[in-house]
Point group: C2
Chain length 490, copies 2
C-alpha cells in the first residue's frame, strides 16, 4: 500500500477505484450511476478527442449534432435494435414541475407528454430518421457524419469510466451507395481506432469481429478492438458496425443510383467513449498510481524546484523560464510547480500518482553543476542529466517512454494469449491465468451461451487475421474451422 | 426574393428561417422544439468553441463534466433558482421500457424512480453540490471550472438557434474566497464574451448589468452583452452572473480562510450558447443568404474553376494546387470546388448563400493573363486581381472584410441608439424605428413591468459605462439618476 492506494495484487478492483479517485480523474455524483469527470480526467478526454476528431476529419467526416431525446416509437422501427436498446434507459414523461402550494416541488401531472421521450442510449434511430431528408440521389452519398455527445444507458452496477449510466462518446453514422463501401468504411474506422489505441494509448489491441451473440443490436457485423487489462480480463475499447440496410429500411431512406434505380442506402456506425480512459488506467498503472503514455498525458514534464533560500529559488526559476519555452516549442507540455505551500516530497508523490511521465527536480547544486535530476514515471529510474541539450533529450525520452509502456503491455498480452484444446484447459486458464484463450468453437450461439453461463467467459472476437484450422469444439466436440478468443471481460 | 430566400424587409422572421435552412445550418427534428445542427452550422459552432475554449484556458479555467441529470430536490435548495428554472423542464420518471407482450413498447410501470430526475436546464445546483467536496481551505480557491454541455429548457415557442428546447452551451462555474474576487471574475468573463463578440463575430455589443426583473434566478447581479439585430430588436448574446454566497449557502460549501475562520465561498457563473449562431446570422446576413465574418467562416476562400475542356481544367487545377498550400500556411481555409456535376453559376449561388467571404473564379484566360476573378461576399464587389502575391493579398482582404462587416453593424447600431424623453417618444421609436432606446427610469420593478406589458419592450441593461444624469422617469415622472436601454428583444 502506498499513499492510500490498495495494491493491485491485493484487490485489483479497489486499486482501480483508488487511482481514479486519488489521481483526481473522476468521482461518483449525487445521481446514482452518473459520474463527475474532474478537470484532470477531463483533460485526458480532451487529448483523446483532439486526436480522434482530427482523424475523423482527415478521413472525410463532418461533425453534426442531433437531439438528446428520441421518441419512444422510433425504437420499435428496427426489430433487433429495440431489444438491445429500448430497455434500460431514462424515460422523460413530463415537461414541467410546479409548487404544490405547500412549498414542495412536484411534477405537474397536467404536463404529461403525449409520447414519452427516451434519453438517447445511441442515436441510430433519430439520425436515420434525419438522414431520410438528406439523401435522395447517389450524389448525396457517402454521407459521413460524426457526433460528440453524452448518452444514457441505465446501469444497475456501475464503475467509474468503465460502466456508468451517463457517459461521453463519439458516434459516427455513415450512409453509402453500396454494401462494399459501407463495409470498407466500417473497417477503415476500426483501423482508425486500432491505430489510436496502439499509437496514442500505448495499448495493443486485437482487431476482430464479434459473434452473433455479441453483435450490436441492429448490425449485420460488429467489428471491435479488444484489449487486455493487467488482471487478465479483456476490455472492448471500440466498435464499428456494418448495419447493412436495416436502418435505411426501418426509416425508409432511399436513393436514386447512377442507373436511375431506387435503392435503400447502406450504413455503418462506430463509437468510442470515456470508457477508454478506464482502459488507459487499467492497462498501464501501478501501485504508485497512474502511468500515462506521454502522447495522452496532459502534463508531460513537471519541474519541481528544490531550494533553501530565495536566491536559490530565483536562480532555479530563471533557468526554468529559459527551459520551458524551448520545450513548449518542441510540443512538450510542461508544468513548473513553484507552490511554496508544499514540500518537494509531497509534490513528487502527487505527480507520481497523477502519472506525469517525466519529473525534473532542480536544486542549487544542479545549477552549479549544469545538471538536473530526472525521474521516469514508467520505470522509476532516476538520474542526473546535463542541462546541455536537455530539451532535445526530453523529446527523445518521451518517445522512448511511450514505446516502453506499449512494449510492457504488448509483452503482457503476448504472455496472456494461450491456446486451450479442451474445455478443462479453458476453465483452468480462466481461473489461474486469465488473458485471451484461443480455442476451437463449433460456431453456434448455443455453445457460446453455455460456455458463458458456466465460466463467465465470452468470445471476445474472431480475430481478423485468423488462420483457418480444422479442429473440434472444446465444448461440443463438433467440428470447427478456426479458433476464437475467449476471455472474461469488463 | 432570390434562391427562395424571403426578403428581409418583407418578412424578417421568414428570411431568418430561410437562411438557416437553405444555408444548411440547422433544421427542426422529429422531437418538438429540438433542432438538428447540420455539419455546416456545427462547423461554425466548432470555430466558436475553439476560440472561447482557448480564452477560458488562458484565463486559468479547466474543463470538467457534470451529470446531465439533477435530483428534483436540488432545485428546492436555492429559493430564487427554483422559481426560475425548475418549471419548464424535462422530467425523467422511469428507467425502463418493456414489451407489453403484444408487440408494443411501453414504459415499465415497475421501473419508477424514487426521486424524479430533471434534465439540467443549467448546472449550478449539481455543480455546487459537487464543489462541497472540493473546497475545504483557501488553498483550494479559486476554483475555475467550465463545462461544454447540452441543456434542456422546455420551450413552447421555438426558433432555430435562438430558442430551442435543447441547446448546446458552455457554463463556467467558479468559487472564490472573497466577494471582490468573484465580482472581478464575473466582469472578466463578460469582457471575454464582449471581446469574442466584437473581434470574432464582428458584432458590436453593449456591456451592461441587468435590472432585478431580468436577473438570473439566484444571482445578485447579472452582467450581459446586448447586441442589435437588423430588424431593430435586441439580442442577449451572453451573460455572466455574480452569485454572491447564495449557492454556497444552499449547498453548504464553506472554507477555512487564511485567518483560520470558516466562511461560505463566493461564486460566479457565465455562459454562451448556440444562440450566438442565431445572432451571427441575424446581424450580418442579407437577401442573398448568410454573410460570415472571416474569423468564424468554416471556409474563408472558395475556388471555382471555369473550363471548357480537360486541358483548361488541368491547368487551373495545377495552379490551385500551388496556391492552396500557400494560403493554408497563412492560416486561410480554402475549398477547391472541382465538382463536375454542377455548373459555375450554381456554385457561385451556393457559396453566396453559405456566406463564404471570398470567392475566386479562374478560367483559361485568367491563366493566360496571370489573374483571377475575385468576389467579396460582404460588398458583392468583383474584380480581376493578379496572381502575383495573391496569398498575401487575400490575408489582408480577409482582415478588411472582417472590419467592414463589423463597421456596418457598428454604424447600424449607432443609428439605432436613440434618446427618448417621454413615454410617447419611446412608444413611437419602438414602433417606427426599433433599436436601443435610452430613457430615464425610476428604478422600480413595477414601472419596468408596466412598460413591458404595454410596449413589449424590456430594459436590456444599464450600460456599464453609463453616465449619471438627473432626469425624470418617462413612465412615472419620478426622479431618475440615469438612463437605461430599452428594446424589444429576442
Amino acid at each position: 500500500m502506498s499513499k492510500g492506494i490498495t495494491s493491485k495484487n491485493e484487490d485489483y478492483s479497489q486499486w482501480y477505484n483508488d487511482i481514479v479517485m486519488k489521481a483526481d480523474l473522476a468521482e461518483h455524483s449525487a445521481v446514482k450511476g452518473c459520474m463527475v469527470i474532474k478537470p484532470y480526467g477531463y483533460s485526458i478526454w480532451e487529448k483523446m478527442q483532439a486526436v480522434l476528431d482530427q482523424k475523423f476529419k482527415d478521413t472525410g467526416h463532418s461533425n453534426a449534432y442531433f437531439p438528446l431525446f428520441i421518441p419512444k416509437s422510433f425504437f420499435s422501427k428496427e426489430a433487433a435494435h429495440v431489444e438491445g436498446f429500448a430497455t434500460e434507459c431514462a424515460v422523460v414523461t413530463h415537461y414541467r414541475l410546479k409548487n404544490d402550494g405547500e412549498g414542495n416541488i412536484i411534477v405537474d401531472p397536467e404536463a404529461k407528454l403525449e409520447e414519452e421521450l427516451i434519453v438517447r442510449p445511441t442515436s441510430e434511430t433519430i439520425i436515420w430518421n434525419t438522414f431520410k431528408g438528406w439523401v435522395q440521389s447517389y450524389r448525396d452519398l457517402p454521407l459521413l457524419i460524426n457526433q460528440w455527445a453524452n448518452v444514457v444507458r441505465w446501469e444497475m452496477r456501475t464503475r467509474l469510466f468503465l460502466r456508468t449510466t451517463e457517459f461521453l462518446w463519439q458516434e459516427g453514422h455513415t450512409a453509402h451507395a453500396t454494401s462494399e463501401e459501407a463495409v470498407a468504411e466500417t473497417k477503415q474506422m476500426l483501423d482508425v481506432y486500432a491505430e489510436f489505441a496502439e499509437k496514442w494509448m500505448a495499448l495493443p489491441v486485437v482487431k476482430g469481429v464479434k459473434t452473433a451473440n455479441e453483435r450490436f443490436a441492429g448490425a449485420l457485423d460488429t467489428y471491435c478492438i479488444e484489449a487486455l487489462m493487467q488482471d487478465g480480463k479483456a476490455l472492448q475499447a471500440g466498435t464499428s458496425h456494418f448495419l447493412g440496410q436495416n436502418f435505411a429500411k426501418a426509416f425508409d431512406v432511399k436513393f436514386t443510383n447512377k442507373e436511375g434505380k431506387i435503392e435503400h442506402v447502406w450504413a455503418s456506425s462506430w463509437g468510442v467513449s470515456t470508457r477508454m480512459i478506464g482502459a488507459l488506467i487499467m492497462a498501464h498503472s501501478d501501485d504508485l498510481g497512474l502511468v500515462l503514455p506521454p502522447m495522452l498525458a496532459p502534463i508531460q514534464v513537471v519541474i519541481v524546484p528544490i531550494y533553501r533560500n530565495d536566491d536559490d529559488f530565483n536562480n532555479i526559476t530563471a533557468y526554468v523560464n529559459e527551459l520551458t519555452p524551448k520545450l513548449k516549442k518542441l510540443g512538450v507540455s510542461v508544468k513548473y510547480d513553484n507552490r511554496d505551500s508544499q514540500r518537494p516530497g509531497f509534490k513528487f508523490a502527487e505527480y507520481e500518482l497523477k502519472g506525469v511521465p517525466v519529473r525534473l527536480a532542480i536544486g542549487g547544486r544542479d545549477l552549479e553543476n549544469g545538471t538536473v535530476e530526472l525521474a521516469r514515471r514508467d520505470t522509476g529510474e532516476k538520474k542526473t542529466v546535463s542541462q546541455q541539450g536537455l530539451d532535445i533529450y526530453i523529446v527523445q525520452l518521451l518517445d522512448e517512454i511511450q514505446e516502453n509502456i506499449y512494449k510492457k503491455a504488448f509483452d503482457y498480452r503476448k504472455e496472456h494469449i494461450t491456446i486451450a484444446n479442451t474445455y478443462d484447459e479453458l476453465k483452468d486458464l480462466l481461473d489461474n491465468k486469465g488473458g485471451f484463450i484461443s480455442a476451437h468453437w463449433d460456431g453456434t450461439p448455443e455453445t457460446e451461451q453455455k460456455i458463458k453461463e458456466e465460466t463467465k467467459a465470452t468470445i471476445r472476437c474472431i480475430p481478423l487475421d485468423n488462420k483457418l484450422e480444422d479442429g473440434i469444439c472444446i465444448y461440443s466436440g463438433k467440428p470447427s474451422v478456426q479458433r476464437v478468443l475467449f476471455a472474461r471481460a469488463y
